[in-house]
Amino acid sequence: MNSNLLILPAIVPFVFALVMLWLRGREGAARYLALLSGVIQSIVAALLFKLVLSEGTQTLEIGGWEAPFGITFVADLLSASLALVTSFVSLAIALYISVEKDEPITHPFTLPLLQLLLSSVYGAFLTGDLFNLFVWFEVMLITSFVLLSFGDAKQAIGGAIKYVLLNLVSSVLFLTAIGLLYGKTGTLNFAHIAARVGHLSNEPLLIGAATLLFCAFSIKAALFPVHFWLPASYHHTPAFVSATFGGLLTKVGVYAMIRTFTLVFPLQGTWLQTALWIISIATMLFGVLGAASQMNFRRILSFHIISQIGYMTLGLALWSPLALSAAVFYLLHHIIAKTNLFLFGGLAARLCGSDDLRKQGGLYSSHLPTAILFLIPALSLAGMPPLSGFFAKLLVLQAALEAHSLISVICMLLVGLATMYSMIKIWSEAFWKPAPADAVRPSNRTPSAGAYLGVAYLALFTVFIGVGAGYVFPICERIAGELLDQGCYIHAVLGER
């Protein structure tokens, strides 16, 4: 069953990027195009999600070449829901910048590049081909490199260099893994590899390839101790760019990890599972410690990304249907909440004239609606019911309890408390504290309707995922079921062959 719907999420922003590039220099037009693109992406992604939800995994054999030979796009429920969430993010960011003339677009290439970034994220989520995944990763990386270096401050360039070199290592390892895997299996299609790996066990090459993929994806997902590139770079870009980064980039790494280590190399019972467990715990702890030590709005958020990634990979490492569905739930929740928080980081910085919490303040009294909207993602991230983060944490916690993993439970609780601490720190400094005397006084201009719409749109989903957990979680359970049943994926892609 081929449906071009699968490629559309990736290709729509791509085409819009091209149009924007042709119209470069016309910033106003680009803003509206971004909005239009966001709307179309949402529609397409929603249609795709609906299709997959009702009719199961969909595939698209690109170029019309049948499955293992050409590149196949595969939308199982996981991919489709991630694409859907990505389209939410895309639309929210487009809203945020659409009519927000206060949000300066630093460079004429920024908006088209953002579209290309989205395109590559969709591509990475939907492709069913290992090498094609690599290509999407590279597109994503180079786009983010370029977006980072637009900052042009010394720190921005420094951050960009770190980002480039560390991710380069990841790419080399990824390529090496592809080489090894191709040498052994002679194929690149995920399903086909999985089918062939199924016959072989304990082959040195496969173990090597699995390990290399593990390393490569760890770097992309910013797991401890290979997370350094993330906090070094994320806060140098305009808010809506770091929101996209913070929401999506690392999550693509997590997605790749989930896909690879359920479909191709099921983690269960391997030493990698133990390794992932240890790494996840360390990631959770170190991320949150990093956040506690910071006094910069967006840097706190950056460190929190790391810590939260730990929860997701912990879900993968615990390896039970519940744990996997919890990890997926966490993934969906986190993309939305984190993007939103980064947008607030931008708003706060603009209203107070600084990103530094010490120089911010007084927003609670001067900008009440902003403050209330901020609380939704912030409390969600800190795990307050009934927002999405509460259920995400609750589910991982229950999975850990069921796995009798006492250490995981304790660490999760400590990290949860520390997360609460740093969210409250932001609240207390930026919102409650009176604006410091020497700082620029908070501007009395309210953010424009567009910015409010953007953040409110995402906040709505945060609330929905929480209140509607009874609806969202069964989907995650279905996803976990699909992930654990490799045969189902393989069959959907390769048919009876």
Partner: protein, 142 residues
């Protein structure tokens, strides 16, 4: 080599190189070559020309920037991929036209795939030349 000699020889070599690049492009489907190789070869021709005659000289002759040229290539490539969507085939499916016989190149089958390759050619050429010129300009700035 004196500048004069260099310029004269480049004047002869560059067009040949360009022609060669086009040849690489068109026969790429059947013999070694293709959009990349053609594009890179073409880029080197223009770069050589630019180096010997000055960048301004080349750029003033061109109505569009090299970036637009590359952009055109990329757009063409995407467009070629899209054609199949309009006839309700999977994205990127090759749609084939008649087969031509071109002198020197040999048999040449027209189709979206060829269009795609031309897109790649334009992009790579634009990339190569644009980059080279940017770097040269940076150097000349001193």
């Amino acid at each position: 080599m004196s500048p004069f000699l260099l310029r004269t020889s480049v004047k002869f070599i560059a067009p040949i190189q360009l022609a060669l690049a086009l040849y690489f492009l068109l026969r790429g489907h059947n013999e070694p070559g293709g959009g990349f190789i053609g594009g890179l070869a073409a880029a080197s021709a223009v770069l050589l020309y630019g180096l010997s005659f000055g960048i301004q000289e080349v750029e003033s002759k061109l109505p569009v920037s090299w970036f637009s040229f590359a952009l055109f290539g990329l757009s063409l490539a995407v467009f070629s991929a899209f054609i199949s969507v309009f006839v309700n085939q999977p994205f990127f499916t090759g749609i084939w036209g008649p087969e031509l016989y071109a002198p020197l190149v040999g048999k040449l089958k027209l189709g979206t795939v060829l269009l795609f390759d031309i897109g790649v050619f334009c992009l790579v050429m634009g990339f190569g030349v644009g980059l080279g010129f940017t770097f040269f300009a940076k150097e000349a700035e001193r």
